[in-house]
Symmetry: C2
Subunit: 257 residues, 2 copies
């Protein structure tokens, strides 16, 4: 199925699941919708932190379209499931936000690591957690994102283990994709960034590192979400975890080199 037909399925309610493995070759976007008063600082937060917040598109105020990512996108209905937060606290999971739409809402769409994971697999590298239907382990680190206005958060990272030769290749490949987190931020000793591999953020993902492997850490798209939760805007709407927006952008088209 094409990204467009998958969006139609989301819109009609016939697709409401996890998006991994669907519309291969196309970018899936993290979504964060904020009131206009909270949007400028968030744009600045993205500008200051391109690795955790690789902004692909920011809508016009009040507009539910994202023409840069797909001609027919209606962000009120085209994400499989949404999470609604009020004052920084989870309020509800819904399949459609048309009833919640307001003329002051602004949508931010950010790249996600699924795109570079596809490039890694295409290059012959092994991501064991994918074979098991898991995601990369997520960790809260002692590094911090650069604050902007009310937004301030620790830098969350995803971890993927590789043999040394594959680690070098993974750095080369992901460096080509600055719009989907880009190169790793750290490699080697997890203790240098305050991480214990068994202690994952909200228990998300796989922390397995086999003997002879080295852990690589990439900036994670949950960082801006944590910054927003901490800032406590009156309303914030995001995609539900692992249920992202299908876009018409090809992963390969994001390659910088």
């Amino acid at each position: 199925m094409t990204p467009r037909s998958l969006r139609v399925a989301c819109r009609e309610g016939s697709f409401a699941g996890y998006t991994a493995g669907h519309a291969k070759g196309f970018v899936q976007a993290n979504i964060c919708i904020l009131p206009r008063d909270w949007a400028e600082d968030f744009l600045l937060f993205c500008q200051r932190n391109p690795q955790p917040c690789p902004l692909l598109s920011r809508s016009d105020v009040g507009s539910w379209s994202l023409p840069e990512l797909g001609e027919d996108i209606d962000i009120r209905s085209d994400v499989p499931r949404y999470h609604v937060f009020r004052e920084g606290r989870f309020d509800a999971e819904v399949a459609d936000i048309t009833d919640l739409w307001r003329n002051d809402l602004v949508t931010f769409a950010m790249g996600c690591s699924f795109s570079f994971e596809e490039a890694l697999v295409d290059a012959g590298l092994t991501l064991r957690f994918l074979d098991r239907g898991e995601v990369a382990g997520v960790y809260e680190t002692t590094m911090r994102a650069k604050p902007a206005g009310r937004y301030d958060a620790p830098l969350l990272m995803t971890m993927r283990p590789f043999t040394p030769a594959d680690a070098i290749r993974a750095i080369q490949i992901t460096s080509r994709f600055p719009n989907v987190h880009g190169a790793p931020v750290h490699l080697g000793d997890p203790g240098q960034i305050g991480v214990e591999l068994d202690n994952r953020y909200r228990g998300v993902g796989s922390g397995e590192v086999l003997p002879g492997e080295i852990p690589l850490f990439w900036a994670c798209g949950l960082t801006p979400q944590l910054a927003v939760m901490t800032a406590k805007p009156p309303i914030c709407i995001t995609h539900a975890p692992s249920s992202m927006l299908f876009t018409d952008i090809r992963n390969a088209s994001l390659a910088a080199l």
Copy 2:
């Protein structure tokens, strides 16, 4: 001084020292001169092992010029000092090989890591051994170069230590320079490639790795030299260690991306 004027100084005998720090911004080349009967397999060895043997130019048989690297080069006199090997054993160090020249000799010029070290320093990375007037530590590893005919050798590597963030940057930068060894071959645990950091090949260079740093290992241009010594051709002439050929090629012009 320009590379050309330095070559003239070598030719006239007024320059016979180490070449590091001279003609900044220009490629310095490792030189290996072999009889015609030994040249085809060596070319194949370079083709099969581009990381340790990044071939910049191979002369015509019997020709002492290398027009790709500098219009006026006379390889019989333009290297500061030469080492002459016979049957794989060191025979003499000389300042000029005009008397030794034969119509069947073939010159191979290979890139060297000085070029990417300049790019690393220009990017703000620290190479402590440079500040101390040393070179990177050299190690014999348990990895092997791909053999070609009579040429067969372990893969020798140079080691440079970095903090994790600088290690990622160093991989990005050196990946741009495939003609001067390119990306590292290994990083992290030296034991995985049979290396003890205190046990350097012929005692060459610095093996210092500070706490919080990770060692990165690049393929080393001494690998082809060791392969030639092992193959024992009747004659082989190389540059003397750290006394290379000044070329007119700019380091930056070798960047692939």
